[in-house]
Each structure stands twice: as C-alpha cells, then as structure tokens.
C-alpha cells in the first residue's frame, strides 16, 4: 500500500462546516487508527449529473475520484452535498469499492429530519460519521453486517442510519483487523 493517510475530499457545491469536518475526521482516525487529510476538490464533472433526476451518479463520481487519487492516500472518501443515485435505484447514501481505494458519501439526505425539518448539528455529524465509516469500511473489504447496531449494517433510510451506532461491531472490528493485517497496513 502506497499511502498511510485517509483523504477526506469535499466535493460539495457549498462549503463544509469546519466543526463538522473536524469531528468526522477525528472519528475516522479513531476508527481506522490512521491519520486523515482533508482537501476541497473541484466540483465533479457535469457528466456525473443527471439533470432529469437532479441527482448525481455515485458510480460516475467514484470513477472521477479514482482519476485523481494522490499517491500518499491509502483511501479516499469523497463527500458531496449532491443527492446520489445509481440508475436502477431512487437514491443511495453513498457507494464504495469493496476492497478498493475510493468511496463517496452524500450529505443530501442526512441534513433533514424525517418530517423534512433541518436536522441538528449533532444529528448531521452522527449520520455523516456513520456513512463515512460505513463506506470506508467497504474500501477495507468489509461487507454489510447483519448486526443491526453495527455501522456496517445496510441503511436504506435515514431512520436506519440513526438506529445504528458510529462504531463497528466486535465481528467487523475483528474482520477489519484481519483485513488490514492481510494487506500489510
């Protein structure tokens, strides 16, 4: 593995809240025992946008991220405020390469409460942290966990995101350790 740093890349239209950024970075560092770096990237290319759906294709964004990964980065998680989709599905919270290099997470559906009101800072922070840990977990080789409270359990709604903890369950922690050892990280 070339790099030893997890890169958090902001690819949103608006600026990210500094406090939110720092809290998420801290928790990523704690969970993966790796330092993080942060940078703001350009807006993803227009081809990632589906004007009809007013959503961006997570798969296309992922491909775009992979085209500019710095050599010092072990993993990259792109965070966008755009709503993401894959063609067959209405939306996705994020997408990752299982056992790969990159992941993308959207804040679009994390910033509201179930009834459409703006979510609190704490709620957004918790949700974004969970989704970043989740997608990064995939890049380390973890797949969805059947344990409902584990951060690697699949979330199909914000309710699902809120229900899980911002932590890996014991099995996933163990598996993550094994996967990291296997890859010499």
């Amino acid at each position: 593995m070339d790099g030893q740093v997890i890169l958090l890349e902001w690819i949103g239209k608006r600026a990210i809240d500094d406090g939110l950024r720092d809290r998420v970075r801290q928790q990523i560092e704690a969970a993966f025992a790796l330092p993080t770096a942060f940078r703001v990237a350009n807006e993803p290319p227009a081809e990632t946008l589906d004007p009809r759906r007013a959503q961006r294709s997570s798969t296309k964004i992922l491909r775009w991220i992979l085209g500019h990964v710095p050599p010092w980065a072990a993993k990259v998680v792109g965070v966008t405020d755009a709503d993401l989709f894959i063609p067959a599905l209405t939306f996705v919270f994020g997408e990752a390469q299982v056992g790969g290099l990159a992941a993308v997470v959207s804040t679009a559906r994390l910033t509201q409460t179930y009834d459409g009101r703006p979510a609190s800072f704490g709620q957004v922070e918790g949700r974004l942290t969970k989704e970043c840990l989740h997608e990064l977990g995939h890049t380390f080789g973890l797949v969805h966990c059947p344990e409902a409270g584990c951060v690697m359990s699949r979330s199909n709604s914000v309710l699902d995101v809120d229900r899980k903890r911002a932590a890996f369950c014991r099995d996933c922690r163990q598996r993550l350790r094994e996967l990291k050892e296997k890859r010499g990280e």
């Binding site: 063609p87 997408e95 299982v98 995939h138």
Partner: protein, 450 residues
Amino acid sequence: MKGKGPILVVDDEEIVRDSLASWLEEDGYQVETAPDGPTALGKMEQRAYPIMLVDLKMPGMDGLHVLTEARKKQPDAAVILMTAYATVDTAVQAMKQGAHDYLVKPFEPEELSQMVGHLTKDQALRRENILLRKALRRQFQFQDMVSKSPKMETVFELARTAAKSHSTVLILGESGTGKELLARAIHSQSQQKNGPFVGVSCAALAENLLESELFGHEKGAFTGAVSAARGKFEVAAGGTIFLDEIGDVSPKLQLDLLRVLEAREFNRVGGSQVIKTDARVIAATNRDLKKHVEDGQFREDLFYRLNVIRVTIPPLRERKEDIPVLAEHFVSLFQTEMGKPLEGISAEALELLMAYDWPGNVRELRNVLERGAVVAHGPILTALDLDLSLPAPSSSKGEPADSLKEVERRHIVASLRQHNWNISRTAKSLGIDRVTLYNKIKRYQIREDE
C-alpha cells in the same frame, strides 16, 4: 458473509451493470455482469446463478427472451426483471414465463435489498431442506446393520418384532448376507440380552461331535470323553443359541433338536439326566429349507418348529443401493480399527463395487474393502486398491444371463485359480467361510484339473 450468490446482472447499460454490481457487492454478494442476453446465457453454461437481475428492454434479445432461455438452462434460477416501462401486460407476461418478480426502475434501495435478501434466505432454506432430506433419505438401521433398501427395512422391522418375543427365529439368506449379525442384533435387543449369545456352526462338525457340542456329554460317553462337558444349550442358558447352517444337520440330530424345541429339554450324550433349557433358539441357513423338506432331507415338523418367525435377508445384488452406505460404513469402521486416515472411496471405485455381483454378499464386500483399506496409500480408496479385477458376472451385455448357479460356479473356479487353489485364501476373498466353500466345491463338482 462474502461469497453469497453469485448474482448475474444483465443490462445493456454499463453504468447500470457496474452500479448494481457495486451495490450488491456491498451486501457481500458475488456479482457477475453481462451486457446482453447471449453473453448471459453463455455464462450460464459455465456456472449456476441462483439470482439474476435482467433488464427487460435490451437491443437484440430482450429480457423476456433471456428469461425463457435462462429458465431452460437453470430452472432454479430466480429471475428478477427490471423495467422502466412497466405495464400490467409486461408484468403478467413476465410472471407467466416464470419470472420471480419484476422491479420498476428506479426502485427503492429497500425494495431491492429485501427482495434479494428474502430470495437468498429462501434459497438457502431450500438447499438446507434438500440436504436434510438427503440425510434423512430412508437410511435404516438395526444395531450394527445399516441399509437404504426398503427390503431391508422389512427385515429390520421383523427382527425388531422377533426381538420382543421369545419365539424361535429362522433366518434365511445366502452366505455372507449377515445372518449371524442379524441374530446377534435380535439377541441384543431381546429380553435375554444380558444372557450369553452362543453360536454353533452345524455344518462344521461331524454328527457325533456336533451332538456333543450342542448337548454336552458325560464322562466316558465316548472315547476321549475324559470328563463331563456342558453343551452349547447349557452354556446358552438365559441367553440365545444360534444354530448356523441348520440345513446341514443330520436326520438324527434333527430329531434331537425337535425334542429340544418341543419340550425345552435334552440329555447330555451318555447321560440320563434331563436338562431343561430356556435358551432362545435362532437358526439360520443358506439352504432352501422348504425344498429340503419336500426332498425328504429335512424333517417337516422341525421345519415348522423353527419356522415360527422367518426372516429372509436378500442378497446384496438385490439391494445394490446398500453398497454405497455399506462401503461408507466399513471404511469408517476400518479407519477406527486401523487408525488410518481414511476419508472415503473414489467414484470410480464405487462404480466398480456397484458393477460387481457379490456372490459372497456383504462379507465379501467387507473383505474387499478391508484389503483396500490396508493397501490404500491415500485417504481415499481407489479402484486400484480394490482386488476386483475379475469381470463382474453380470457385466456381459446383450447376452442371455447365465443361471445364478453357473455364474457362482464360474466365479468360484476363477477365485480358486487366482489363489492357486488355496481354500483359506479363496474363501476369504469370496467372503465365505472354508466350510461353505468346501460345500460349494462339492455341490458344483469343481475339480482342480479344470
């Protein structure tokens, strides 16, 4: 969790294929993709796909066509059709053609998650059921005897009934079918199980010796009778006496046995004291006892005394479905006895065992496998380990079958030649005892110079 599936995603749009694959991979599924129907069907030649996600509208071969062809190749595959143009007609047609379900694009992540999740669970359950059914598939057992044959189930059932009673049991069957094993099994499940099980081979001894063996003798009853001795009937008190080869007993002894069975009493040879016996009698023979009665060689009254509960064990060639289970049973037995890491038997070896006619029945099978287990170099017994180079008597195709006796005679001659007319070795390889072999040599008038 890794390794569920594989799921085959068939869609002409690369981005749909890749994104769905990525989405499903996050769930731990193995996913493969195909850009069109022909490629998908080609992939189906190579491996099984329990779940397929197929786009309905594709250039060339459309989703319904893929569905029809896929079902021909893999009827168990659950095909989910994806369509952006759902109409009731399409849905009805898809379901009629055997689609598991259909999804209208774009669908909710939860919808796909649940559909695929439920399908995977259902399929795992179905597989589990099949395995369970296979495991439970009518394997019958009676003590140490195992079988998958319905004929043997009847035998075991009868033997269980016999075990509960004190009645005399007559076990019929060819040499090596396990008559003694069955007798022992009946004994060990009977009320007399804590008493002795005493076996006597009636064909192995001359008449006077057998008489003394069965009933004992008093001191001086005959030359060499320096002291009194108890006979097997006395030894078997409170237990079971097993009279093997009862069909070979002389007329005088038949009369003596009739008395024992009728009056439950006898005298020692040279003795006058009447000795009572409560031993349960189980007799066995490979002879056609009814025919012996008709020929006047066997007492009819004794036959009826013995024939209270009659159990006939079918020869192995009539229950070949037992060969795999018996082979597995013996291999596992030898593994324990020999302390050798034997894991099983190769498909080729099993084919050889299945093709053979087993004139020596289960005993011969056991011997062949025991020899194989001794010489085997690896954990799996191969065809080379089995000393079954002789052509199977039933393997001649298209020709009228020889009578069983002719086949048996030919097989015995071949075995004798193979072992340079060494009776012990030949008997062992045939899975029969020496006396039986001598009897067969005599009966078939086999000569060394032929």
